[in-house]
């Protein structure tokens, strides 16, 4: 059993270490109002369609010294919003996201890539309409700082990837009126817990 003074010393060292930012595992929770996933897909030969998901949650852990971490994101598929409002009910239906059966889609990381202190990429698995497939996320503009209003420690980044929706079995319209490739862009802002 460690003595009280040892515990105190340990606590002090941990406090100093976590203040040094890169020396311990950091946990973050995404701010949903500033972390909305958005997508872009070609529609017919000359239109491009955009939309986003207004509800999602995310937990991130980072150990920048050990260059490890994890990302766990859950997106509420019922919150899909096409910028062409006629499409929302179609996208939520059986031919696309089938939100009645699959109200969430999730991303779970399997590996994180760092360049020094900065996260630059994440490998993981996306589960969408019940199908799980690997994806690689590119992370750019990763930076951390204190929120000027509430002084909380936070990090932000831009996450992008491109997927083929047919890989998840979402094939309606592919090759005819809609594209297969979906460009995904997610700004992330996450508060340190």
């Amino acid at each position: 059993m460690p003595r009280q003074s040892d515990a105190f010393t340990l606590a002090l060292l941990l406090a100093v270490a976590s203040g040094a930012a890169a020396a311990a595992e950091e946990s973050y929770v995404t701010d949903p109002a500033h972390s909305e996933p958005s997508y872009e897909i070609r529609h017919t030969i000359f239109s491009t369609q955009r939309g986003d998901f207004t509800k999602s949650t995310g937990k991130i852990t980072l150990d920048r010294e050990a260059k490890k971490g994890s990302i766990d994101v859950s997106i509420d598929t019922t919150s899909i919003r096409s910028h062409d409002p006629r499409l929302d009910s179609i996208l939520k239906g059986e031919d696309y996201f089938n939100v009645a059966k699959y109200p969430t889609m999730t991303f779970k990381s399997t590996a994180m890539r760092f360049d020094g202190d900065r996260l630059t990429g994440v490998d993981g698995e996306l589960t969408m309409i019940g199908v799980t497939r690997p994806v690689t996320l590119k992370v750019t503009d990763f930076q951390c700082g204190d929120n000027p209003f509430n002084k909380k420690s936070m990090c932000g980044a831009e996450v992008t990837t491109t997927i083929k929706r047919s890989d998840w079995g979402m094939k309606t319209g592919v090759g005819r009126s809609s594209g297969d490739e979906v460009k995904i862009t997610i700004p992330i802002e996450a508060y340190r817990e």
Binding site: H34, S47, D84, D141, G156
Partner: protein
């Protein structure tokens, strides 16, 4: 059009005379014949992106837009008039949208419309590559240059109508338009990215105009 301007040269004078006869007629003729396209609001997306606290790039879009495009790819002439309903600003969060419509930002009570009017179109062969014009926002008008990253025309497989689609982008400074609130928190540079789809308006006399 050859205008030699050399007085006393018989051939030059003849060509000059011919040019002055032809020149005033051709532009008017071209304007009457130039294809007119109506922007399809449902298939057009006007998105903006701005830096938030230097940590992330936040996006929003305007749900209601309309406009007209006159485009003659052969004579390289045309005119674009694009109107955005500023009250349709949409960032996915109602409280933020209300703030953007408010007097510290767009002040849509007084200035509900954002408008772009072209002054010059740039082509590379038949392909539109750039548009110079004026943007009026928050009651201030400033010149802007739009970059046309993608421009395709063809027949829409869904409707059979002839149309064009373009991806257009530019960056503006909101402070140039008097929208300077919270410049330290929300960036000054606003990235504008429009995905525009417009269908040909059949010339007068033809049926089934949209």
């Amino acid at each position: 059009m050859l205008l030699s301007g050399r007085s006393g040269c018989h051939v030059g004078a003849l060509l000059f005379a011919l040019a002055t006869l032809i020149a005033p007629i051709r532009p008017a003729g071209a304007a009457e014949e130039a294809p007119v396209y109506r922007i399809d609001p449902d298939l057009t997306n006007a998105q903006f992106a701005v830096s938030h606290m230097g940590l992330s790039l936040q996006r929003g879009h305007f749900g209601r837009t309309r406009g007209t495009i006159v485009l003659d790819s052969e004579s390289h002439t045309g005119r674009i008039d694009f109107v955005v309903d500023a009250t349709s600003v949409d960032t996915g969060w109602a409280a933020r949208d209300a703030f953007l419509r408010g007097e510290d930002m767009f002040d849509t009570t007084h200035y509900p419309v954002v408008r772009f009017r072209s002054t010059r179109l740039s082509f590379e062969r038949a392909r539109l590559v750039g548009v110079a014009g004026e943007l009026t926002m928050h009651n201030i008008t400033r010149p802007v240059e739009l970059h046309v990253a993608r421009f395709d025309c063809g027949k829409d497989p869904d409707s059979g109508r002839e149309g064009c689609g373009a991806e257009v982008d530019t960056t503006i400074k909101r402070s140039d338009f008097g929208m300077s609130y919270a410049l330290g928190i929300v960036g000054d540079d606003i990235g504008l990215s429009f995905q525009v789809t417009a269908f040909r308006v059949p010339p007068a006399g033809e049926e089934d105009a949209p």
